[in-house]
């Protein structure tokens, strides 16, 4: 019961922050509310007893990416320091809202119609041990993930280099 109350609070935070994030006209404020959403999602992970995932979420998203956004916003436009005013075209808003609502209804229908929700009534309420996560992450056996892990590390390296290449100032010839 406490879990449900906790979840409701988190859900309100997430959805409220997301709505503000999307509707605010100030880009800086949007970034800030994104941070709240990310914290909320991390909270959901904690509720699911995926502590490690929640931690990673906070560390990478909240700690890393939000900083990146804020720096980018500040670098891109001096005006955005004061908050960027956007004009929004009514037609696109209406179309987007319509399609989003339609999609929401559709997915809701899918959720209600499917039975896999029922067969998962008994959810094991147990923390995944840290050592298991660690072993699986660097193990090479079945259901172990050293290969994606390595792949992602190389991928991140490539992204770092690519990011630098793209963003650096061109040499003056």
């Amino acid at each position: 019961m406490a879990n449900i109350i906790m979840f409701c609070i988190l859900a309100v935070i997430i959805i409220g922050s997301a709505i503000v994030c999307v509707f605010t006209k100030r880009i800086m404020r949007a970034a800030t509310f994104l941070l709240f959403v990310l914290f909320g999602v991390a909270g959901v992970y904690f509720l699911l007893d995926y502590t490690f995932l929640g931690t990673a979420q906070i560390a990478i998203y909240a700690g890393g990416l939000t900083m990146l956004y804020i720096f980018a916003i500040q670098l891109v436009s001096k005006r955005t320091l004061q908050g960027l005013q956007e004009r929004q075209r009514g037609k696109t808003v209406v179309a987007g809202a319509l399609v989003a609502l339609l999609g929401l209804v559709t997915v809701g229908l899918v959720l209600l119609k499917n039975e896999f929700i029922d067969m998962s009534a008994s959810m094991v309420d147990a923390e995944v041990p840290m050592s298991v996560i660690g072993e699986k992450l660097v193990g090479a056996g079945k259901y172990q993930y050293v290969l994606p892990f390595e792949f992602i590390s190389v991928f991140l390296l490539a992204c770092i280099i690519g990011g630098i290449m793209i963003a650096r100032k061109e040499d003056k010839k």
């Binding site: 879990n3 449900i4 979840f7 997430i14 997301a18 709505i19 999307v22 880009i27 949007a30 970034a31 994104l34 959403v37 999602v41 959901v44 992970y45 509720l47 699911l48 995926y50 490690f52 995932l53 979420q57 990478i60 998203y61 990416l65 990146l68 956004y69 980018a72 670098l75 891109v76 436009s77 956007e86 004009r87 696109t92 808003v93 179309a95 987007g96 809202a97 399609v99 989003a100 999609g103 929401l104 997915v107 809701g108 896999f116 929700i117 998962s120 959810m123 699986k136 992450l137 259901y143 994606p148 992602i152 991928f155 991140l156 992204c159 990011g163 630098i164 793209i166 963003a167 100032k169």
Partner: protein, 102 residues
């Protein structure tokens, strides 16, 4: 115990809020933020499905984990591109990059 419908409903709502943001915002960075919302909702879904359908396994867990990592990389590159666009066009509006279309 949290009902699964609520968890999935949350991720769905988050997804469509993100989508709505993506199609309405004109600022490149705001669009990127909306994409982050969408990706987060998907991550929640992975975790939830893992928890519901295969409690003993950790596929969804790791998928979410890697997804978080890749999101980070993607965002970094996207921001690098946005910075470049800004430098070149002196605007961070999406419709400023129109001379690539026919």
């Amino acid at each position: 115990m949290i009902p699964v419908e609520l968890l999935l409903g949350l991720s769905t709502v988050l997804f469509f809020i993100g989508f709505f943001g993506f199609v309405t915002r004109r600022n490149l960075i705001a669009m990127l933020i909306s994409i982050e919302l969408v990706l987060n909702s998907v991550d929640i879904n992975f975790a939830v499905f893992n928890r519901i359908l295969h409690p003993g396994e950790l596929e969804g867990f790791y998928f979410s984990l890697f997804s978080i990592g890749i999101n980070a990389a993607e965002t970094a590159v996207a921001i690098a591109i946005i910075l470049n666009v800004y430098r070149r066009f002196h605007s961070d509006q999406v419709n400023s990059i129109e001379n690539m279309k026919l």
